[in-house]
């Protein structure tokens, strides 16, 4: 498996993703700096979390204009799987590869905690009872137009939903797929749920693995 992780000034979850993909799943991983264009050749493209361009203008707005994202659009046009995590989700919304936008959490706080989740759409039943992943964001409150929301529901694009909505997201959306289900974005961090952690139970460190296994099913 060949994966690529796009990085921008201010990305800070890129190395976690590289470690996860390389060490946990045996992938060969290329880091693609924002100034580079590329010819789509990878099985998966990941857009990592962080604060690209310091969140200037809007979260993800400047990253969406970068040269590497032009190439990412070409990869999307070929139907290659693209996964945006946290700031990566915000970037994919700004590129319009995903509908809607992510705004400030309703309680205005940056929330850093494990959050309970359930699968939706095509991912219904993909996760065990009590499933959870860590979140860490200030702007994870998903909004979209009424028409977009109707389409999201009709097409089963909300593949990951909060069972206790932490941030005010419309329709409890924690993860959203494009209409063709090849581009996905999510606020939770599966790459942070692969090791035994101080604050996690033994079963929770499996949760990240379960998520990645579902992602890998998107392979062509």
């Amino acid at each position: 498996m060949k994966a690529a992780v796009l990085t921008f000034p201010g990305s800070n979850c890129d190395q976690d993703l590289v470690t996860a993909l390389r060490d946990d799943f045996g992938a060969s991983v290329d880091l693609l700096w924002h100034t580079e264009t590329f010819t789509p050749s990878h099985d998966f493209y990941f857009v990592p979390g962080g604060f690209s361009y310091g969140d200037y203008l809007r979260t993800g707005a400047l990253a969406a204009q970068s040269r590497s994202v032009e190439s990412l659009r070409a990869a999307a046009a070929q139907g290659r799987p693209i996964i945006g995590i946290c700031n990566g989700f915000q970037i994919l919304c700004e590129t319009k590869l995903l509908p809607g936008a992510l705004i400030r959490n309703t309680d205005l706080q940056h929330i850093c905690e494990w959050t309970p989740l359930a699968g939706g759409g095509d991912w219904q039943g993909a996760f065990p009872e009590g499933y959870a992943l860590p979140i860490s964001h200030g702007e994870g409150n998903f909004i979209c137009s009424d028409d977009e929301l109707k389409a999201i529901k009709d097409n089963g694009q909300a593949f990951l939903r909060y069972t206790q909505n932490p941030n005010g997201a419309t329709y409890d959306i924690a993860g959203l797929a494009s209409k063709n289900k090849r581009v996905i974005g999510l606020m939770p961090h599966p790459e942070r749920a692969l090791r035994v952690q101080k604050d996690a139970s033994i079963s929770q460190h499996r949760y990240g693995r379960i998520f990645f296994e579902n992602i890998f099913r998107l392979a062509a």
Binding site: L57, R58, A61, L62, Q65, C93, E94, G100, A101, I103, R104, T106, L108, N141, I143, C144, S145, G168
Partner: protein, 86 residues
């Protein structure tokens, strides 16, 4: 080529939570100024650009506004272009 000054005023849509304005309003209310019933904070972007004429300058501004300066899911944008004072 002529020089132009342009501005883009970006406002959150009324339906969208705008916490900075809310915080300012609450701060005013704390001090007893309850007459300020709404405060909204937006962005004011100043641009200098070169273009053949005013129409071309306006088109260039409109393009960067649509591509980048605002997100129509949550914001509106008003642009204004004028020939730069030399």
């Amino acid at each position: 080529m002529k020089k132009f000054s342009a501005t883009a005023t970006v406002r959150f849509k009324k339906s969208v939570l705008e916490p900075q304005g809310k915080a300012i309003q609450l701060s005013l209310a704390e001090k007893g100024s309850h007459e300020f019933t709404l405060v909204r904070v937006g962005k004011y972007i100043e641009v200098e650009l070169e273009a053949e004429n005013a129409e071309a300058a306006e088109q260039k501004m409109k393009k960067i506004a649509d591509d980048m300066l605002f997100n129509d899911v949550m914001e509106t944008c008003e642009i204004h272009v004028a020939e730069a004072k030399t």
